[in-house]
Symmetry: C2
Subunit: 337 residues, 2 copies
């Protein structure tokens, strides 16, 4: 089997040379374990926070250790009768062609009878889609008639959150993205009311104010402090800021991060700001997945994917996330179906 390890700690933007592909012996499952052969693997922007060699609440990644991530795969050898050979699963197997699973942690069978691409289970039906769901509904306490602003809106988390808001009766859903192509997709395919290309709009503050003259009930943010500071003065009474991701901050040392200064708005507008890690909602995943699978089947939830081929492409696919290169969920085919 092959896997990809962290070779050097990242300083600033991660580079493909920070990683190395290694050939190792395929492990054999011990009692209670099983071996999954991966078909799809994900690159996740949130992984960046573990790669600086500094203490991290989520656990710093050690040099030489295989990179974490999510997978769709098939059980290839098993010493666990609950997970027999041939079963399709989603799991946290990382940047690798295979992984040993114990039956615990992030792991779920892929239900049969749904005619969906397997890669969706690490996309709209995986961690990003679930983050959109629980971020909007539990943390954002979404209510019909809310005005919702989504950043990194063409990414899998943002696109899911925005479409769920629209389907749930939002009065207005506005997305911010980094290309005209993404903005067109948000409006024409994903049903957003309005989209702003932050790279060409000039004055982003003014563009948001113009698009949302009545203000923002929910800021669903995947960018970080700059965006929160920008939007705070536009928040409506009892507004909610969902801290879903911070892609602009991951590579910045603390001192270089944009500070959030306009915190008087927390009092004057009774704003609430809260972060999430979606695994806290694991108990409620089945209901959310059923609902989202139904929406996909009915064409109410669009997913944009960028497919890469081969494990060796993962460092490039990952590093591109921080330059805004991606358009939709980046998934990497690492084995045959």
């Amino acid at each position: 089997m092959q896997h990809i390890v962290l070779k050097s700690y990242c300083d600033g933007l991660p580079k493909p040379t920070d990683f190395a592909l290694e050939e190792i012996e395929t492990p054999k499952p011990e009692d209670g374990q099983f071996l999954v052969r991966h078909i799809w693997a994900s690159v996740d922007p949130g992984s960046r926070s573990r790669l600086s060699g500094r203490d991290s609440y989520t656990g710093a990644q050690a040099l030489g250790e295989a990179m974490g991530g999510f997978n769709v795969g098939i059980v290839e050898a098993s010493e666990n009768s609950d997970w027999p050979v041939g079963k399709l699963v989603t799991c946290a197997g990382g940047w690798a062609t295979h992984s040993i699973q114990t039956g615990r942690g992030f792991l779920a069978p892929i239900p049969k009878g749904l005619d969906l691409p397997l890669s969706y289970w690490i996309g709209v039906l995986g961690v990003p889609g679930l983050t959109g769901w629980f971020g909007l509904k539990r943390v954002g306490v979404f209510k019909p008639a809310d005005r919702v602003l989504v950043t990194s809106a063409a990414g899998p988390v943002g696109a899911t959150a925005g479409q769920l808001a629209k389907a749930g009766g939002a009065r207005q859903v506005v997305g911010i993205a980094g290309s005209d192509e993404k903005c067109r997709w948000l409006i024409k395919e994903a049903g957003f009311d309005h989209a702003i290309n932050y790279k060409t709009t000039g004055d982003l503050d003014a563009a948001i104010s113009e698009a949302m003259p009545k203000g923002i009930d929910i800021l669903f943010d995947n960018v970080g402090n700059t965006m929160v500071e920008r939007c705070l003065p536009k928040m409506r009474l009892n507004g909610r800021i969902v801290v879903s991701g911070q892609v602009a901050d991951y590579s910045l040392p603390l001192a270089e991060r944009h500070g959030i200064q306009s915190t008087d708005v927390f009092i004057t507008r009774r704003v609430r700001m809260e972060g999430l890690v979606v695994f806290d909602d694991a108990r409620d995943f089945p209901d959310a997945l059923t609902a989202m699978a139904n929406m996909i089947a009915k064409g109410e939830l669009q997913l944009k994917e960028e497919r890469f081929d081969g494990l060796a492409t993962m460092p490039d696919a990952f590093c591109g996330l921080f330059k805004g290169e991606n358009f939709g969920r980046r998934v990497v085919k690492v084995g045959e179906e």
Copy 2:
């Protein structure tokens, strides 16, 4: 009657010369109105945010307009049968010896039969005490065994919040204050477990970490961004930051405010930060006041007051709040009982 108006917009720290005392004709109540003769008047740090001549969500104060604030008073003339002459009330009458009330807005009769100083109704049983109560309980979602850090802890909001936490079974209540005398009072009278004098402690970060080695469940903050940034890395999983006041920020232009940078903690520790304005909880005031009055009667809730004498002292009393001069609730006697 006399009242005090804003004479100049405040730039930085407010100065007594920014205000002027004026003699005006005592108004007569019209139909449905009544005239209250004030006995006590409050100075409130939150008023600072209205005095810069800039747009403010809470409504900028106009030059020449009487300063707002809270009072205990007695109805002296009435054209409203619900509020007869002789009734004792709390109201929002401002920096003045008298006010006309309409029966709406912040106004409540003072219950009879409680042997408490009248000034308490603009202190622990007024806006500051209620802010402590609802900040801790509704916004902070206080739970027994929480570890609570309170800033401006010897002030009326902080002291109430800390004592309520302790009475509610907090595992640990730590206060930050600006003198050894305040710290002694917090521990000996108010029952805090520990108190830190931020003016003499040297490394405040280290002092907090040493006092709370297991971290913070609730930061009840009256200071502003510096304190939030300082405490974010010490927040425990699912920690709550109650934005109750921002006394260090009120006089600072946006660009000079300390930014909150460590917002990665919002995700990694699932932190929630939320502001409050206590009037949102008005429906629940009676229950809170009954509970707090009972605690005071049983000696479970201490109140420290600084009493000033005469309306003319109000500008000095107010301006001193921003130098940390006050120890407890500043109340000004503006008329006889």
